[in-house]
């Protein structure tokens, strides 16, 4: 009796939990997505396509994608270097460095943008140098890249640090003692061990880079056809009461975001499969002598 009641109670709780989750997902994720897509195509597909293929949209898309292709390699390089330093070496000030790497997570993006202006702007700390070199960063395309880099650079490192910490340095040392060079050790031992976490970090920073608004908005200067990214473009369209176009471009960004999500899920699923394969198939046959 008693156990029956308890198990039905449990089932009830489970049901409520599921209801809450589903309601939340529908209200805040599925419905908005539906609204965006329906609004975008509300005035017919031709309006949608015109908005999506408009020259300014294409420029924004190009800048967003270009930014992505520049920051990703840098993020990978920095992420691996930072995670390596934090996990495989012991040195003074390690915890400070670890906290500093997290800084872009805690600094609001708008503030990050202002910091960059103060630093790289014409009257900024490095302004005189840039003027001498006759280059402009702030209010130009490079600013978009720098700002995006700033807000995304912890992602790869943060994914790698816990994993590399757990894995320790034993395998690397084993490789070294077997005669492998530093490069061989990295490519044959370290990289294969962290590849899924690395990929996951790349996807997270991709998603963040595409959606970044605050910092980019401050430093880009909103120069049409030049320094506009997709999120900025959406805002401009929206402010001009061009709702259909705004939603059309939004749907473009959403599609990009969704595809990274799909890739992420595939990676997650594959890495999970990879990890469970050896343990899942624990094949200790009884006749094997356990020497």
């Amino acid at each position: 009796m008693d156990t029956d009641m308890r198990s039905s109670m449990q089932r009830l709780i489970q049901f409520f939990m599921r209801c809450i989750t589903i309601t939340f997902v529908v209200l805040f994720l599925v419905l908005p997505l539906y609204v965006i897509l329906s609004e975008a195509t509300g005035e017919g597909m031709s309006v949608f396509f015109r908005a999506v293929t408009h020259q300014e949209t294409l420029q924004a898309l190009t800048l967003t994608i270009c930014t992505l292709f520049i920051i990703l390699p840098l993020n990978i390089l920095f992420g691996i270097a930072a995670a390596w330093t934090l996990t495989k070496y012991e040195f003074r000030g390690k915890s400070v460095l670890s906290a500093l790497i997290d800084l872009p997570f805690s600094v609001p993006p708008v503030i990050a943008g202002f910091i960059l202006i103060l630093f790289l702007g014409r009257h900024g700390t490095l302004g005189f140098l840039l003027e001498k070199l006759d280059t402009q960063i702030i209010f130009a395309a490079p600013a978009v890249i720098v700002a995006t880099l700033f807000v995304t650079f912890p992602f790869v490192a943060r994914e790698l640090v816990p994993l590399m910490q757990e894995q320790g340095v034993d395998e690397e040392q084993a490789a070294v003692s077997l005669g492998a060079s530093a490069f061989q050790t990295f490519f044959h031992v370290t990289l294969p061990n962290i590849k899924w976490a690395l990929f996951y970090g790349i996807i997270l920073s991709t998603a963040r880079a595409m959606g970044e608004f605050g910092a980019v908005s401050v430093v880009s200067g909103h120069i049409r056809g030049k320094t506009i990214t997709l999120p900025l473009h959406i805002e401009i369209l929206y402010n001009e009461y061009n709702f259909t176009a705004a939603f059309a471009v939004s749907s473009l960004l959403v599609t990009l975001a969704m595809s990274t999500l799909v890739v992420k899920e595939i990676v997650y699923w594959r890495s999970g499969k990879k990890q469970t394969r050896p343990t899942g198939g624990f094949l200790e046959s009884p006749e094997t002598p356990d020497l």
């Binding site: 050896p278 356990d290 020497l291």
Partner: protein, 358 residues
């Protein structure tokens, strides 16, 4: 190939893991570095392997085959190192793990694919894991992983083999089997081997010679018999097997511990110098009171007869708790009882004062 280290020190901040250690391992020898954790044994092993560097000292040397290797990198020392937790490459099969060292060689020195395959299969046979080449490390038992780690180290045809707590992570049964297997293997391939252990039984059973280490120094080097039967320091005596300790002092040329008097080179010691007497449980003889034996008195507190010997816990008249061991036959004939007052006599005692031993 012989290994010789000279004047090796290693400190981590203010902690001195090794204090001016010198040691020679003979060619083909199987030697154990025995000591408690923190005694510096693993540090010494890692310095020999080249994975760690000793403190800078112009006299510090790591000599292999009459060649100072102190500035040679780990990869160029041709040392087979087996890690405590195996450190197998988890994303590679057993075959790829063993082949790793050969595949990483420079193109000119790299064996052909067929040669590598041949060699790996030979090694798989040696470690009794034929047909297991395509398994992943996670699919193996602890003992199997340990053997794969050994095969991987042997694949580079090392001149010396270094093993860090080779059986530390295994359960008792497996450990014994693997120990015997390693002994046979060493006989077969005759490679100079140095292994680290905190288990005295393991060191005494497996090694040709044992190096007992404590607090970054070598306490004694000798055959298992030497270190066990003639320990040179208190530490060695205490570390190798259980031991009873009595406190006393020098009186008129004899070390006096209650009613026990031991004579020896302490005679020259100053009157009143503190002395400590050590005796192994099986060197204590229990007799009934009134027997002519000139023992000192103790009360039996507990008798534990499960095991190869009967273990008897006593409270000595000095108030110290002591343990004696006797054979089951002796126990049968003596029939001691808990609470009974008995006399205890000693043989093979060792007395340590500040710097002399009897």
């Amino acid at each position: 190939m012989s290994i010789e280290v000279q004047h090796i020190s290693k400190s981590f901040g203010s902690f001195h893991a090794l204090k001016d250690v010198s040691l020679r391992v003979k060619s083909g020898e199987l030697m154990a570095l025995l000591g408690p954790s923190g005694s510096g044994k693993t540090s010494l092993l890692r310095i020999i392997s080249g994975l760690d560097r000793p403190d800078v000292n112009p006299l510090a040397k790591v000599i292999m085959n009459n060649e100072d290797m102190i500035s040679t990198s780990a990869g160029n020392r041709r040392v087979g190192f087996v890690f405590q937790h195996y450190a197998l490459f988890r994303h590679m099969t057993v075959f790829d793990n063993i082949a790793f060292g050969m595949r990483m060689r420079r193109k000119k020195e790299r064996p052909s694919k067929a040669e590598i395959k041949n060699k790996v299969e030979q090694l798989l046979h040696l470690i009794q894991l034929d047909n297991m080449g395509n398994r992943y490390p996670l699919q193996l038992s602890g003992g199997q992983r340990q053997r794969v780690a050994l095969a991987r180290a042997l694949a580079i045809e090392p001149k010396v083999l270094l093993l860090d707590e080779p059986f530390g992570a295994l359960d008792a049964r497996v450990r014994e089997d693997l120990r015997r297997w390693l002994r046979r293997l060493h006989k077969e391939i005759q490679i100079t081997t140095l292994f680290v252990t905190h288990d005295q039984e393991e060191a005494l059973e497996l090694a040709d010679r044992v190096v007992v280490m404590n607090e970054g120094r070598i306490e004694q080097i000798g055959t298992p018999e030497e270190v066990f039967h003639s320990p040179r320091t208190e530490f060695v005596m205490k570390f190798l097997g259980s031991v009873n300790l009595f406190h006393g002092r020098i009186e008129r040329g004899k070390a006096v511990f209650g009613s026990w008097k031991v004579s020896g080179p302490e005679a020259g010691k100053e009157e009143g110098t503190p002395a400590r007497l050590f005796v192994r449980p099986y060197d204590m003889t229990i007799v009934r009171e009134g027997d002519p034996a000139h023992g000192s008195n103790a009360v039996i507190r507990r008798i534990q007869s499960a095991g190869p010997y009967v273990k008897i816990e006593l409270e000595h008249e000095s108030g110290e708790n002591i343990i004696a061991e006797m054979s089951h036959e002796r126990h049968e004939s003596l029939k001691p009882l808990v609470g009974e007052k008995v006399a205890v006599s000693l043989k093979n005692v060792r007395v340590f004062t500040e710097d002399y031993t009897i």
